[in-house]
């Protein structure tokens, strides 16, 4: 069948710069570049290019420019380039269009419409370079009240399990299987060095990496891959994954070709079979059932670890979150519509769920109104790009932020959205040994730690500017936020005033 698809990217090769070194030929896992010996020239099959920029970065003479193809079709606001492409792909295959990473549609990004406050004259700002500044955060259920015994001078209240993080930024659930071993190991190492946590995702946890245990959130998802008592007890937090922002309401599906022998061992399934994660957890059809699994995990881990429950941010997130807390969840994790994925149907990624800003504000408010906000920590995820987004989320009520895509970008990802193909020229989202060895875990770790360090410094600067010396004092403090260019209903949901008010 003749494909009606035009190339997505245009490759411009400056022949005066090209030295025929063929780096581009070797670097492209999609076989875009080909060297022709007879012509002594490199040619490009543009239709294969995904725009990941690997060749352009690696080209020693900067001879390559990769840019989005400028289609010659008549401009049409309704029928965008994406609609054309997806429909053609389906007409040619009859399948569900897949994609990777987070929603790229222009839904309103509320972080870009929220501004922070700073101290001027009436209260002094703090200089974090010379004064103590606290970013430490404790995750877990907090007691309703603290009882003190004046006789023994001891606190009588038994504290539920808490997990300390040095900075309120956690590496989100990226499973081994979806991402390469090197990428996974880098996240673990970086979490340890930066004093934060790393979520295993649902693909299990290789035995030789269990030494990082005090910095790991182990996920228990509907596929239950690699889940046993030792796995659960190796972690500092156990997370029940109900849903994910990129694909609320549907299950996961690691294609058989990505189930290599190592992945098969870690997931405890036969090599080459599809790793299917059912859409629901079939032991959870209600809040009562959720409670059953939460307490099964608490029982299995001796009541020593906080249990987190992660859901996709959907319309009734606030009511669901209230039920989750009452079911015994110590941590609520919310993943918004811009949350990433290794593979999801594009139609779901682009159309299902709500922005994390609105979900966070409504969940935090609901829990406070019901007087149960202290009973669970609130983690939020879904498209966080920088420390500004993080600090705004904390002022809206979050305890900490999950970052997935940002962490991948720190390691070298260029968000080409081809994660579902199993080919990743940056060695991150692939199980191909030739590609995955491109990611040096030591360098990737350093890049991740650098990012977290940079964000912490920025968060301290912004906190100090507001005259606050502990992140704890900003949490849920929406007076420090103002909206710009938002409608009244949006300000109401966010619980903030418009700028100038």
């Amino acid at each position: 069948m003749l494909s009606t698809l035009l190339p997505e990217f245009k490759i411009e090769r400056d022949d005066s710069r090209c030295i025929r070194c063929q780096v581009c030929v070797r670097q492209c896992g999609f076989d875009t570049h080909k060297y022709d010996e007879d012509d002594d020239a490199v040619y490009a099959a543009e239709e294969k290019c995904v725009g990941c920029q690997r060749c352009a970065v690696m080209c020693p003479t900067n001879a390559l420019t990769i840019k989005p193809h400028d289609y010659g079709y008549r401009p049409n606001a309704n029928w965008s380039k994406d609609h054309f492409r997806e429909l053609s792909r389906q007409a040619e295959s009859g399948g569900v269009v897949l994609t990777g990473s987070g929603n790229d549609k222009p839904y309103r990004i509320y972080w870009d419409h929220i501004v922070l406050n700073a101290s001027q004259v009436t209260n002094p700002s703090i200089d974090p370079l010379r004064e103590p500044m606290e970013l430490k955060t404790y995750l877990g259920r907090k007691p309703d009240k603290i009882e003190y015994d004046p006789e023994t001078k001891q606190i009588k209240t038994e504290m539920p399990p808490q997990v300390m993080i040095e900075v309120p930024v956690i590496f989100s659930a990226l499973s081994y299987g979806a991402i390469s071993y090197n990428a996974w190991k880098s996240l673990l190492q970086a979490a340890k060095q930066a004093g934060t946590l790393c979520n295993t995702g649902e693909g299990g946890w290789p035995m030789e990496l269990r030494e990082y245990s005090n910095r790991v959130i182990a996920q228990c998802a509907s596929g239950r891959f690699g889940v046993d008592v030792e796995y659960l007890n190796s972690a500092s937090i156990v997370e029940i994954k109900i849903g994910q922002g990129a694909k609320p309401g549907i299950g996961g599906h690691l294609p058989g070709e990505k189930v290599s022998s190592d992945v098969s061992l870690t997931r405890m399934i036969p090599e080459g079979t599809d790793a299917l994660s059912p859409a629901p957890q079939h032991d959870i059809y209600s809040i009562e059932d959720l409670s059953m699994l939460i307490y099964a995990l608490k029982e299995a881990t001796n009541y020593e670890k906080p249990i987190s429950v992660k859901i996709a941010a959907v319309h009734n997130a606030a009511a669901i979150a209230s039920g989750m807390v009452r079911a015994g969840a110590d941590i609520i994790a919310l993943d918004g519509i811009r949350g990433g994925t290794g593979a999801a149907p594009k139609i779901i990624r682009d159309n299902v769920g709500i922005p994390i800003e609105l979900a966070l504000a409504s969940v935090d408010k609901r829990l406070r109104d019901e007087g149960i906000r202290n009973q669970a920590s609130l983690l939020v995820a879904g498209g966080f790009r920088n420390s500004g987004d993080v600090i705004k989320a904390i002022a809206l009520g979050a305890d900490a932020v999950y970052i997935g895509t940002a962490a991948l970008v720190a390691m070298g990802c260029t968000i080409c959205q081809k994660c579902y193909t199993g080919i990743c020229n940056w060695g991150i989202c692939t199980q191909d040994p030739y590609l995955s060895k491109r990611l040096n875990p030591e360098i990737a770790t350093r890049r991740l730690v650098n990012m977290v360090k940079g964000w912490s410094l920025e968060i301290k600067e912004m906190l100090g500017g507001m005259g606050i010396n502990a992140i704890e004092s900003l949490r849920g403090n929406r007076h420090h936020l103002r909206g710009v260019g938002l409608e009244q209903w949006e300000l109401d949901v966010l619980g903030i005033k418009g700028a100038g008010m």
Partner: protein, 256 residues
Amino acid sequence: MGNVIYNNNGSVEINADGLFYKDMNKLIREYILAHNINKAKLTNVYGQRYIGTNVPRPIKIDVYGTPGNDLGAFMNGSTVEVYGNAQDGCGNTMNDGEIIIHGNAGDILGISARGGEIYVKGNVGYRVGIHMKEYKDKKPALVIGGTAQDFLGEYMSGGILILLGLGLKENEKHKATFIGTGMHGGIMYISGKVDQNQFGKEVGELPLDDNDKALLSKYIGKFATHFGYDADEIMKRDFIKLYPKSLRPYGKLYAY
């Protein structure tokens, strides 16, 4: 309430009447650690959950009464024998060990099990054996004496599921429909009347070969021993084998 009789022969008897599950399971742990018991007898069990989930090392647990949900969830090597019926979620994500139920069991028996064996004398509920797994020699096995409700062996990606249909009347069919929907690994053996239209579209049907018979005889032998049946009589029954037609049932669903 909750009185405990400790026998010096390495066993403890706990009267679970009125005991909260957390306290009951903690008592078992304490007796294992302090007295090195290898057997616990629980009497008057009324709905206590997570029996056998968290024990410091594998032991034998006898349950008299009706245990609660998630019996043996995440269990790792213990043997639990229930003289009564089990509820939902029995053997949830079990790794190793044995569960023997002298009665019926509820929904999602053996969900996501990775290993171990479960024997049920009577009937079982919905979605039993869903998403059981296997890895190399580690295969969970589920043997059910009676019949099962819908979605038996759904999403099965490994393990062995045996449905004997012993309680069915003449010409009475098994209850389950959508048997093996989404199955992409493991194997299922069914005795008793069942129609083609009760199967999910991902399973195929085959007659038994010698390997199948050897496997069946191993598990049916144990089943018969547990519940006082004649294994040879059961082996004389007709069996069919259901297998997953593809290891990748959804491989062609997507446009790349």
